[in-house]
Symmetry: C2
Subunit: 217 residues, 2 copies
């Protein structure tokens, strides 16, 4: 039974490696060298490469956990986690996308989800909808930072010019807006605000204000 402290050392080094040189640079050999051992020395601690990546997910979630607060309004608590998630993504842009692609079932992960459930319940979201809304919010949060990290966003302006403009009328109409480089921090904050508005509008503080209309077929 390997030492758990050693495992954390390994995961810390792996995360550092990912931060410095990208996820692709996290190879068994490179990681081992950083720790002054052989690649094979890692296996008893982390299982295999997949186990290492799962460990990174845990490691990051643990880093996110302090953002869970018990004081404040439920909305404040949701926002705190949302903001902490983005801060985490900023610190570990290469590793963060792993959160989207690997299920997290560690105690820390469950605790985090529990905090989100609790906040949503406090906000007035009916129990039957809470897990769904949690998935909606966490999916957005993880997807957004993943998109940022992988450059999905920042590649629009390049080849817009090479288009016959009448094929992309909306782009033309928005050309002035599209010139400006977005402020991603402000954008994320605005997104959070909209999502909070959505939750509030839908369920709390306004019973009967709006009824969800049936969606058009």
């Amino acid at each position: 039974m390997p030492d758990d402290d050693r495992k954390r050392q390994i995961l810390d080094a792996a995360l550092e490696l990912a931060d410095e040189r990208g996820l692709a640079a996290v190879t068994m050999r490179a990681l081992a060298q950083k720790l002054g051992v052989t690649a094979m020395a890692l296996y008893p601690h982390i299982g295999d490469k997949d186990g290492l990546l799962d460990g990174l997910v845990d490691r990051m979630l643990a880093e996110l956990l302090p953002a869970v607060a018990t004081h404040g309004t439920p909305e404040q608590r949701l926002l705190a986690i949302g903001r902490a998630a983005r801060a985490l993504a900023r610190r570990h842009p290469s590793a963060y996308p792993l959160l989207l692609s690997r299920p997290a079932v560690t105690p820390d992960a469950v605790r985090l989800v529990d905090a989100l459930y609790a906040a949503l319940l406090d906000l007035g979201v009916p129990a039957g909808e809470v897990p769904r809304v949690e998935r909606l919010l966490s999916t957005f949060t993880l997807g957004y930072a993943t998109s940022e990290a992988n450059g999905r966003f920042s590649a629009g302006a390049i080849n817009r010019a090479q288009f016959p403009e009448d094929q992309v009328p909306a782009h033309r109409e928005l050309s002035e807006v599209l010139e400006r480089a977005p402020d991603w921090d402000a954008e994320y904050e605005a997104d959070l605000a909209d999502l909070m508005l959505m939750v509030r509008t839908r369920w709390s503080e306004n019973d009967g204000w709006l009824k969800l209309q049936a969606l058009p077929e």
Copy 2:
């Protein structure tokens, strides 16, 4: 200058391979064997492995493009694209996550984004906010299917039991709900509905109804 038909043949085979045996099974050698040639024969057509994956992104976006409609209300048009995106993810669960991790700058990609821009403009979203809202919606759509494909969602019930229940009070409160296996189709539809509600609430059909409050610090 290699033949473009050949390139599409290769991409079709690669997508099929990914659908059948997962993205990890899409190796140069395996793909070449499926086509009855050598691995090196692929290079003139697709560049390199990265080019192949970019090609898969294009291939999938092309498959999504027919969902772009010019008739119907803007809301109907947004929903049509959202639903088509999920159908695409169902058809190509292994390859779909690539859409989140690779910028798409092909003509097809721009055309798709243009359709989303146009619908949002028609819905009354102010020009300055349209790109942001497009990113919000597409991020959710891509992230959701990616989460589904990678099993991020369907792993909660397993180890909830092994917890000291007082550490996860919200889970306990929701235990009945969490027992039920979610209907993912219905959930996605409900998410789309909520996001549509968000857009409508925020900008259209209700000027002055709701003012976005400043977010708590």
